[in-house]
């Protein structure tokens, strides 16, 4: 563990640490473009120059290993001058089209020019022009003029996805990032190149021109797209709603978690949030009688449901919970089951098309909380519940979220089952064929509209936080179940998801010792979990 000083601050770092990371540990930010902790060292941008005591000239921090007794100086006159010159080089051919550039506001050319540049430009020649607004693939747009050739995107495709789509072609000031002619940047992780692009060269085709980044608010969350539970930030547009025609979730960005997804996020997860602001969101409780659908109040709905539950023998009530529900929802449901002694409960519904999986982030199980549902004790495969319904042994069936008619089960059998139940209750965020077949439809909040936790496939319990208000009258499932419990006379003091989490921790040994505080931002492994 070499000890060194950075700008007078002593710091001890693991052997092999480079000077950018060593300085960071000492609380000093060394400006850089091409360096990225998740990629190999390129040493290309030259911006991270620092002075080393006894060295004849500044050296790049990214490619210099910290050694015992090293004295690093990041703010000498010589370093400042060097940075300024390098900024001038980087910007020689830059089109300065910030007013129409989607990166503006989160662009490291802007940030570093203000911090380390501030020179009077001396460039009088015509700038070199390059292709603009070139779609590289389904998600990424290239502006070659804005590119500073840091090669982060090239290294990402070489080292992380090993797909090698991108390269730097031609040379000198005609060098530009591009694809092999005829190919596309269409690997399952392509959106990450937008995150790591420090400038406006690679922008997100979905997000671009939706809203200026300085109008975005952010909440720490977890991707619900599969059992991995990648850590994300949800960026929402609440301050300029008229800019995006009602679209509140502007984009998802990966949030670093060494134990889960590091800096990355797959495209399926990144762009999988459209359901949140979709036209098919369920906004108010509704009741269907024959072909007539009418709005209802929550109070009416809860009273009616409680009545149905009361008059049905426990054996004639079926519950199909969802592995997309949070641990808190599932435990609230568990409380309901225990109180009413319900036994026809399950949560797994096989998808019609088996999920894809790779050896990086993507998991075949497209649910964020299958392990949580299992540990809370909500049974397994829902086939038996469906069969009970078909056999006319159920008077009431509650379905959370699932579109059973789009599952692997034959559609005719599902229709027969739904038709054989006196009261079908659907609780979910979006309308689909199954919700249309229900007698009661209760709108549930989407994951970005509420607080909760998921348990990923490895047994890591992770928190997600609300980024926007629930649409319409939607409520989180724990609250819907809580209201039903109250209507059934079960004493429940849980008014926040954290209360349910505490009850869960007290009741289910697998979660012993956990608390929201202990989960923090990075989550915690269940005490008994062994990392895969």
């Amino acid at each position: 563990m070499p000890k060194l000083t950075v700008d007078g601050k002593e710091v001890e770092v693991p052997g092999g640490t480079n000077l950018i990371e060593a300085a960071r540990k000492a609380g000093v930010e060394v400006p850089h473009y091409c360096y990225h902790p998740g990629l190999s060292i390129a040493g290309q941008c030259r911006l991270c120059m620092v002075d080393l005591e006894k060295a004849p000239r500044p050296t790049i921090a990214c490619n210099t290993t910290a050694t015992e007794g090293m004295v690093v100086l990041t703010e000498t006159d010589r370093v400042r001058e060097t940075r300024k010159s390098i900024m001038e080089f980087h910007l020689i051919n830059h089109p300065l089209d910030c007013p129409v550039c989607d990166q503006a506001g989160e662009c490291w050319l802007q940030i570093y020019y203000m911090k380390h540049g501030l020179y009077d430009p001396r460039m009088t020649d015509e700038k070199v022009h390059k292709p603009k607004a070139v779609p590289l693939g389904p998600h990424v747009m290239l502006d070659a003029e804005r590119c500073i050739l840091c090669s982060r995107c090239v290294r990402f495709c070489d080292e992380i996805t090993a797909t090698g789509e991108l390269g730097i072609f031609e040379r000198g000031d005609h060098s530009e990032i591009g694809l092999f002619p005829g190919r596309a940047l269409d690997n399952p992780y392509s959106g990450n190149v937008v995150d790591i692009c420090p400038v406006g060269a690679l922008t997100d085709r979905d997000f671009r021109f939706q809203v200026r980044v300085w109008y975005l608010d952010s909440a720490k969350s977890v991707c619900p797209g599969c059992a991995r539970g990648c850590n994300i930030d949800v960026h929402v547009n609440r301050r300029r709603p008229h800019h995006a025609e009602g679209r509140r979730v502007a984009r998802l960005k990966p949030r670093f978690n060494e134990a889960v997804n590091r800096w990355w996020l797959c495209d399926a997860g990144r762009y999988g949030f459209t359901f949140v602001d979709d036209q098919d969101r369920l906004l108010v409780p509704t009741r269907r009688e024959g072909e007539t659908v009418s709005d209802a109040t929550w109070d009416d709905a809860i009273v009616a449901l409680a009545a149905t539950f009361r008059r049905s023998p426990p054996d004639e009530i079926g519950i199909i919970a969802s592995p997309k529900m949070a641990n808190e929802d599932l435990f609230a449901l568990r409380r309901l089951l225990d109180n009413l002694a319900l036994r026809r409960v399950a949560f797994r519904v096989p998808p019609r098309v088996a999920g894809d999986q790779d050896n990086f982030l993507i998991r075949a199980d497209k649910n964020p909380n299958s392990l949580g549902a299992e540990l809370v004790g909500l049974g397994g495969d829902s086939r038996a519940v469906l069969e009970a319904a078909r056999a006319r042994r159920l008077r009431c069936l509650v379905i959370f979220g699932h579109d059973l008619l789009a599952s692997e089960w034959p559609e005719a059998e599902v229709r027969e089952a739904l038709g054989a139940v006196e009261t079908v209750i659907f609780v979910g965020s979006n309308a689909h064929a199954t919700s249309a077949a229900a007698h009661w439809v209760l709108p549930a909040a989407a994951w970005v509209e509420r607080d909760g936790t998921y348990t990923n496939f490895e047994g890591r319990v992770q928190r997600f936080r609300p980024a926007v208000e629930p649409l319409g009258q939607a409520l989180a499932e724990w609250e819907i179940v809580g209201r039903l419990l109250a209507a059934l006379g079960v004493d429940s003091t849980a008014t926040r998801p954290e209360h349910w989490f505490r009850q869960l921790v007290a009741a289910v040994p697998a979660f012993a010792g956990l608390s929201y505080q202990a989960l923090g931002d990075g989550g915690r492994l269940l005490p008994g979990a062994v990392r895969a």
């Binding site: 070489d158 797909t163 789509e165 390269g167 730097i168 072609f169 031609e170 092999f180 002619p181 190919r183």
Partner: protein, 188 residues
């Protein structure tokens, strides 16, 4: 195989030991599915073994490909990429970085006139002007009959004989208009 790497902007010509007679015709057609002969593949493997990282042999192998197929088409880049287990984008990076690989079909002969300092002072501009007039092409173009491609290039290390140019793999030095006319007449 005397240094494939030292060959510069050679025209498509059979080079001893490298061009499979069966593909000689392909030399000017640059087939959609380029393939090296067994002999050439052995040479590729020999070259790859010379470097700690096999991709070090990429430049010489690209020269072999250029000699065989006449120029480096995208199909050739993909074929060569396959020989190295590289992504085609990375072969494309190399081919576009260097000027001595033809990305388009060149003429049967390639004339590269030096336009660097010594040759410039010794009259390269008038040499280039004369060639353009005689061939009826601009620099970078090929005559309509596919006979000659005219290029102007940086220093070829023969300043003592400026102005000079390279015709295929021969140096022609101390150029005059008359000498150029004689040379052009000798090119088939």
């Amino acid at each position: 195989m005397s240094g494939a790497g030292s060959i510069s902007n050679r025209p498509p010509a059979a080079q001893a030991g490298l061009t499979d007679p069966a593909t000689t015709n392909a030399a000017t057609t640059n087939p959609a599915t380029p393939t090296f002969s067994a002999e050439q593949l052995a040479e590729v493997r020999r070259l790859q073994a010379l470097y700690p990282d096999a991709r070090g042999a990429l430049l010489p192998v690209l020269y072999i490909a250029q000699d065989t197929f006449g120029w480096i088409s995208l199909e050739v880049e993909e074929y060569v990429a396959g020989l190295f287990g590289l992504s085609p984008a990375h072969v494309h990076e190399v081919v576009t970085f260097y000027t001595l690989y033809f990305r388009d079909r060149p003429g049967r002969h390639v004339i590269s006139v030096c336009h660097n300092l010594s040759c410039h002072l010794a009259g390269a501009p008038s040499i280039i002007a004369h060639l353009k007039r005689r061939l009826g092409v601009e620099v970078g173009e090929t005559t309509e009959d596919g006979r000659v491609t005219l290029l102007s290039v940086e220093c070829l290390c023969a300043c003592e004989a400026a102005p000079m140019m390279q015709v295929d793999d021969r140096y022609e030095m101390n150029l005059t208009s008359a000498k150029i006319d004689r040379l052009l007449d000798g090119l088939a």
